[in-house]
């Protein structure tokens, strides 16, 4: 079963010193390496901050593009990992080890399985 781990971090987190940032970067590197070696990791990427976000919506056929995220939030989505695990408990163990779990939170969501579809394409039943 595939689970998306959405990484949320507080907007008002204090600025990090370069050494601190370097340490965190290495921590993520080691984590991702371990996750990949376990064979359970499907994908995982960090996202640019919300100051670089653009929102688009279409209403009555008219497209509106605006700066920033859709809603004011206290937490921002800063990245994700996609795992393939057997149980929720197994993926929760991986999620708890994401460094951001210590100051932010990780939302774990199973991917919806649509019968007859895989990777967005129809498959033979």
């Amino acid at each position: 079963m595939q689970y998306m781990c959405l990484i949320y971090q507080p907007v008002d987190a204090p600025e990090m010193a370069p050494a601190e940032y370097q340490k965190l970067f290495e921590e993520y590197g080691a984590y991702t390496q371990a996750a990949r070696e376990s064979g359970k990791l499907v994908a995982g990427e960090p996202l640019q901050p919300i100051s670089d976000a653009t929102t688009v919506r279409v209403r009555n056929g008219k497209r509106t593009v605006t700066d920033g995220p859709f809603a004011e939030t206290k937490e921002w989505l800063s990245g994700f990992y996609l795992f393939d695990c057997d149980t929720l408990d197994e993926v929760l163990d991986w999620a708890a080890k994401i460094p951001a779990a210590r100051d932010g939170s990780i939302e774990v969501r199973p991917l919806m399985v649509i019968p007859g579809m895989r990777d967005g394409h129809p498959v033979a039943q």
């Binding site: 689970y3 149980t87 929720l88 408990d89 199973p110």
Partner: protein, 392 residues
Amino acid sequence: MLSRALGDSHLAEDAVQEAYVIALERWPRDGVPSNALAWIVTTARNRALDVLRRRSRGDEKMALLARLESTQTQDEPDFDDVSVADDQLGLIFACTHPALGLEARIALTLRAVAGLTTEEIAHAFLVPLPTMSQRLVRAKQKIRANGISFAVPDAAHLRERLEAVCTTLYVMFNEGYAATTGDTRVRHDLCNESVRLARLLAELLPDQPEVHGLLALMLLTDARRNARVDENGDTLTLEEQDRKKWDRWLIAAGLAHLGRAAEFNDDGPYQIQAAIAAVHSRAKSFAKTNWRAILTLYDRLLELEPSPVVALNRAAARAMLHGFDIALAEVDAIASAQELDRYAVLHSTRAEMLRRIGKMPEAAQEYRRAIGLTENLAERRFLERRLESVLH
């Protein structure tokens, strides 16, 4: 076997369970008897007889008693095999997974583990049947969609998962115990079910001290059930309760489980709360309560679970030891954090302390605040009576 003889499966179950507790206490000391099963059956039968003798008043109970006295004791009790026990335990862990909301956990546990019908659960929680059905459907859907496992958690996860199980059962118990609205008989069933489930858990996980602590806490609290309200259904404080109405048998069972928990030398919040209840159970009267022991236990509980609610209970215990004025200063300090501003017990505790030191107008004001924050009808009536008393 015993339940067939008794025609009362709850009593039989309780009796057998107590027999095991007694066995656990005695066998390590006195050695395992040559015919262990017969010993259990005889002990359980004697326990049940004790209870029936004490409780029996009507003809019906006498008939039960007669039936039990003629019981053959050489029947073999049927033991569940290990796989069935593991299945049951796995089911409990799945139903109480912390990924599920507390309401869903309680409903699901009652449905899947205790075997109550959806109607019964809806009735117990005073919600319409479709609401409860929907709650169960969503909970099951979440288990399915998330691949929540039905296996017993491994050692690394046991503590965290067990905490979720204990919380579920304790909240279920309190739902039943604190019930004053609706059909109280049904609500008491909730109490009985949670005790039964805690017993089952203690049986399936005999080496978990907090499980014994939880069961002890439930039994020691439940022992006061018949004393906690007067004939009008009004709440009575620990001080006002007729201690003769406390169920000595439940107290003994609670103390046995607390003793069992203590053997592991690994305390936890449920064990400490049970120990506090045990100190009350042992006191001949409210005045003779060992408040120093209670205060020490609250100190430990505060270490384990630093929360303003625990601090408030500790202050109430301190009042009995050091006086109401000193305790009031402590309550004021807790109140100044404003975290508990909408917590009725904060205001009723302050009101009680103000009343005791003779500050009636301030006490009245606090009783009014508490009344405004209390939904429970019996609690409200209690506070209104107190308010009356300080106004005159």
